[in-house]
């Protein structure tokens, strides 16, 4: 497992390589920052919340989302193609029988184009190493107590897909419209460390 990403040695090496590339005319000054800004532009958990609210109110959309998430989110004007290439999105739905939770044990893969930068705990070695072994224990620490009858499915983003959890629609929200429903959805809910 890799350690902390923000080590000063690595940062210094990256700055050095960047300077060399600029010196040799292979990179415009500030180009890396511009590309990163481009990649992050528009990435916020509000996008994930919109997707969830639509899925809660439109069963056809929910089916399309689970079958081919990349195609379905385009219906909302969203896409996973903010980076160098479009990333595959896999949406997993929570039910009474099964709760899903996402991790990247090898590094910190996350649907940045959709949710923005990942929370610090998602990148921590503690979360990455513990949630695959003891998800119920880790979820309990997040305040999520699942009944024994609900099985837990951990998804490890070890290759090229990115994941989004579709939480269960809370009871008593029948009267709410889509924007109000989206307001209920949290970033943790989209990763699976909260119920909504």
């Amino acid at each position: 497992m890799s350690g902390e990403h923000a080590s000063s040695v690595v940062s210094a090496q990256v700055r050095h390589v960047e300077a060399l590339l600029e010196e040799r005319g292979l990179l415009d000054p500030g180009e890396v920052d511009a590309r990163i800004d481009e990649f992050l532009a528009g990435g916020t958990p509000a996008n994930g919340a919109r997707i969830v609210a639509r899925a809660w109110t439109d069963a056809g959309f929910a089916d399309r989302l689970l079958a081919d998430a990349n195609a379905a989110i385009r219906e909302l004007g969203l896409s996973m193609s903010g980076g160098l290439q479009e990333q595959r999105l896999k949406v997993v739905a929570n039910t009474a029988e099964e709760h899903n939770v996402v991790v990247c044990t090898l590094c910190s893969c996350y649907p940045i184009a959709l949710l923005g930068p990942s929370p610090g705990w998602y990148k921590s070695e503690a979360y990455r190493s513990r949630v695959v072994r003891d998800p119920r224990g880790v979820l309990r620490e997040f305040g999520v107590e699942l009944p024994g009858s609900t099985s837990v499915a951990v998804w490890d983003a070890s290759a090229e897909s990115r994941y989004l959890v579709l939480p269960r629609r809370p009871e008593g929200t029948e009267g709410l419209d889509e924007p109000a429903l989206a307001g209920l959805v949290t970033r943790k809910g989209l990763i699976g460390t909260a119920l909504v």
Partner: protein, 90 residues
């Protein structure tokens, strides 16, 4: 490479490669079930060595926690290139 189908039982390779790999250590030499394909991509192990390999199929492979860690009632679904997989012993 065998023609895998969802539901097939597979075993992951138990090798410990010298360089980069996307087969997590905890999932090596373990028996799991193919859930569904996760697209086709060049093998990250080869790319990290400066090669430009053809895309291969990647699978969501589901393991029982008890088979990986000797304990736990959950499942772990790992995304694995077909290169990491072999037929599970009968």
């Amino acid at each position: 490479m065998p023609e895998w189908r969802p539901g097939d039982r597979v075993r992951t390779r138990a090798v410990d490669p010298a360089g980069h790999t996307r087969l997590p250590r905890y999932a090596r030499g373990a028996v799991g079930v193919l859930v569904e394909p996760a697209g086709r991509h060049p093998l990250a192990d080869e790319r990290s060595r400066g090669h430009d390999p053809e895309p291969h199929t990647v699978w969501h492979v589901r393991f029982r926690a008890a088979d990986l860690f000797g304990a736990g009632d959950h499942t772990v679904t790992v995304e694995l290139w077909e290169d990491y997989l072999e037929e599970a012993p009968a």
